[in-house]
Structure formats: structure tokens, C-alpha cells
């Protein structure tokens, strides 16, 4: 798994490529937690190059979403994890698990970053 990080004014973008499995999910968790520790709770995950995700990876996503959403500026504005460029194969996994309705999913990075 490779993670590429880009920081914008209000939003952080993590482009995750390869596989998020039992071996690599701790690396993603660490990267997300490092951003939370810096007070960065608006994250976009660009999954265009993601080939595989299993249950440990999904747990990282759902726990990160929960943490991010606990950070609020107002009732209408706060943290979140949003998804961009969900590949069809990974979308099937999201559909099977109900993650499609749980996460805000955007067609591209520009739309996802602009949604905050």
C-alpha cells in the first residue's frame, strides 16, 4: 500500500493505492491519527488506485469517520472522512457492507475537497 498526502487550506487529501489489508491497515490508521493529532479532521480519501480492501481496512475507515465527526465547529460544520474516485470493485464491497450510504462519495477529488 502507498499513501500520498497533500495538504490544502482546510482539507487533507490521502491518495491510497494498492491493498488495505491486515498487514497494511495499521499504516493507514497511523497516518489518519497523525492528522487528527494536528487538528486536521477534514479528510478526503482518493481511492482511485485502491485494488483491495478487507475488514481491517473497513474498520479503520469507520473508526476514522467516527473520530472526525466528533470534531465540530458548529452544528453544520465539522470534520468528516469523504471518499473520491471509488473504483467499481471497491464500490461492490462498499455496497455489500452499507458503507455506500454511510460515507459521502464523490466522483472526483475536486468535488470531494470542495464539499467541505
Amino acid at each position: 500500500m502507498q499513501i500520498e498526502h497533500r495538504s490544502f487550506n482546510r482539507v487533507d487529501l490521502l491518495a491510497v493505492a494498492g491493498r488495505i489489508d491486515a498487514a497494511t491497515s495499521p499504516q493507514l490508521r497511523q497516518q489518519v491519527e497523525a492528522l487528527f493529532e494536528q487538528g486536521r479532521y477534514r479528510l478526503v480519501l482518493d481511492l482511485a488506485q485502491l485494488e483491495y480492501i478487507s475488514s481491517p481496512g473497513l474498520r479503520v475507515l469507520i473508526e476514522a469517520r467516527k473520530r472526525a465527526r466528533e470534531w465540530k465547529i458548529t452544528d453544520l460544520e465539522g470534520g468528516d472522512i469523504r471518499i473520491a474516485n471509488l473504483p467499481p470493485r471497491i464500490k461492490e464491497v462498499f455496497d455489500l457492507t452499507g458503507f455506500t450510504s454511510l460515507f459521502e462519495i464523490y466522483a472526483d477529488v475536486t468535488a470531494a475537497v470542495g464539499s467541505f
Binding site: 489489508d21 483491495y52 478487507s54 475488514s55 474498520r59 473508526e63 465527526r69 455489500l96 457492507t97 450510504s101
Partner: protein, 138 residues
């Protein structure tokens, strides 16, 4: 094609099994869906065997056999740990829209949903558990 591997039922073996899936994927006979399922079965089921199957006894073997014939992949996982039929595991809670919902059993649910067929058998005489997961090319 028929490939077989046996490893001890311990954490260090998971990476060995995932390397085994890498080698099968490299053969380029499996479809994308079959490759995905193969990795998922090996990761989720083998992890469960290590985590729960051998928890009350010294780690025994995990045997994985992959057979590909007439566009159909059959993955057989055998172990001698505590009997456990993944089809009997309760479904994860997908009814709640909140992030606090339970996602236990997610991996097993995946495997059962993505496979064409899942067959489990425990032989009380020998102590072997056998799980056979099949998927045809689409």
C-alpha cells in the same frame, strides 16, 4: 491448476499465505473477482483460525488448496482448531446508519456474499475442519 500450502496456525503465517495468493495471481488464469475472493478468503478465514480456532490449544496446521478447473476456482481451507461454521455467524449490523454500529463478523460476511458457494464440514473423528469456497469466472 492445483496449488497447495501448509503453514502453522500462527500470526506469522498470514503473510506467508498472502504471498501464496500473490503467486497464484501471478499465474494470470484467475479473473479479478476470483483474485479478490481468494485474497479475502485467505486473509479473513486464516486470521479467524489463528485468532479463535487455535486459541485454546497449541497452534495446529492450516492447509490451503486452490484448484482451478473449467473457469471455476475452489479454495479449500483445512484446520484442526475449534469447529466453526462461518455460515452460522450472525450477520453484521447493517441496519444502523451510525458509525457506532457493530461491524464484527464483517470479513466472514464478505466471504459468504462474494462466493458462489460456501461449504463447511467438521469431522469429529479426525478433528479436521474443512471449508470449501467456490467462485466461477464472470
Amino acid at each position: 491448476m492445483r496449488q497447495h500450502i501448509e503453514v502453522p496456525g500462527e500470526w506469522a503465517s498470514i503473510s506467508t499465505l498472502l504471498a501464496f495468493t500473490d503467486s497464484l495471481e501471478a499465474c494470470e488464469v484467475l479473473s479479478h473477482e476470483q483474485c479478490y475472493l481468494l485474497r479475502l478468503v485467505i486473509e479473513e478465514i486464516a486470521t479467524n483460525i489463528v485468532k479463535y480456532g487455535y486459541i485454546e490449544q497449541p497452534p495446529g496446521p492450516i492447509q490451503v488448496t486452490c484448484e482451478y478447473h473449467a473457469s471455476r476456482l475452489a479454495i479449500t481451507i483445512r484446520d484442526r482448531g475449534r469447529p466453526f461454521d462461518p455460515r452460522d455467524h450472525p450477520l453484521p449490523d447493517f441496519t444502523s446508519a451510525t458509525a457506532e454500529r457493530s461491524i464484527g463478523g464483517l470479513g466472514l460476511y464478505f466471504v459468504c456474499e462474494m462466493a458462489d458457494d460456501v461449504h463447511y464440514h467438521h469431522d469429529p473423528t479426525s478433528g479436521w475442519n474443512e471449508l470449501i469456497v467456490t467462485k466461477a469466472s464472470t
